[in-house]
Symmetry: C2
Amino acid sequence: MKALVLCSGGIDSTTCLAIAVDKYGKDNVYSLSISYGQKHLKEIESARKISNYYDVKLMELDLSKMFEYSDCSLLEHSNNDIPLQSYADQLKNNKGLPVSTYVPFRNGLFLASAASIALSKGCSLIYYGAHSDDAAGNAYPDCSPAFNNAINTAIYEGSGKQLSIEAPFINMTKAEVIKIGLELDAPYHLTWSCYLGKEKPCGMCGTCIDRRIAFEKNNIDDPAIKYIKIKE
Amino acid sequence: MKALVLCSGGIDSTTCLAIAVDKYGKDNVYSLSISYGQKHLKEIESARKISNYYDVKLMELDLSKMFEYSDCSLLEHSNNDIPLQSYADQLKNNKGLPVSTYVPFRNGLFLASAASIALSKGCSLIYYGAHSDDAAGNAYPDCSPAFNNAINTAIYEGSGKQLSIEAPFINMTKAEVIKIGLELDAPYHLTWSCYLGKEKPCGMCGTCIDRRIAFEKNNIDDPAIKYIKIKE
């Protein structure tokens, strides 16, 4: 059994990679990192370090052309600022629309791309790390269980029943994801989540806030912040 | 209401474009043509001519990198020959697997790409021309109603309910598609279906056979073949 893991360089996909390597062995696992025109490449660098840590073959893809018309605030060409607020605060005035860091159907596109590559490489599973914090309040609708069920069926049926998605955290919080990763010794010190691509994580954007709370709930300091301090 | 039409340069997508332009007006319609590393670019040239005919803005995308590991016989780097047989004959020895001209999850990838672009462009509909001849016997599982329903739900849910798919021919044969297109004066003389990229359609590959039968059922000669003869 071979698996392909969508690898963003963050906490959730790193935990997916830890699970897949633990279950199928590093020689049966590929990782896939996709750039989409984001303002910085810190997360791609992290995906490389983490794939290297596990000694799995990383494939890299550039889909930025797909988003050249989007004004999502994560994108390099966008003049919109990345909000320094929690997702919950951002959603208060959003009238049911996703947050401004929602990249149009990004997860759908990433999973479809992963499906094409996985089928070519003889994989029968795609791992991806969507979890319930990201889906809450429709912040990222392409992280919701409804989306996940549908895209899984689409990939299963559209591949002639050769390929399925594993989204092991779809009903978990980020804190619960970290609990699993800690048990598997996932290399969280190598991960990057912050939307801003500065020297250190900003601590104030939606994903930094989400990440901090998740580590606090596990009663440990964020290993990446400790690691950056040690390197200084 | 704005719509994006996936435009392959063939019969089915040209009929979709005819419907969308008829319904929403040419200024509210975009067409999207995607190259995927196929052996010839005849169909891309047709997509350009047809978009030009309707005076709709064509966007072009190259996703060939996604298929560089696939050995599908349609791809330029593949050493496999394109079968000169009907789909039904090819499927006899296929043990439930798709035909060798199935490009791994191509329609899923194309629809996901279309979704990202459509959302960026403010469209609320994506048209695509899947029909029942292509889905028959699991020849192209990414043309089946089961796939179509699931990907439609995935796009609707994953876009925050901003975008849906229209697949008007999902339960029709190609002959029925042509009947609709003829009523709308679709420019079939500009279309290209043949998998081989020669001067004229080969008449022997799966899609040539399917196309010939569909025009015969409508009691007319294929306008593209007539058009090529006139130009000679």
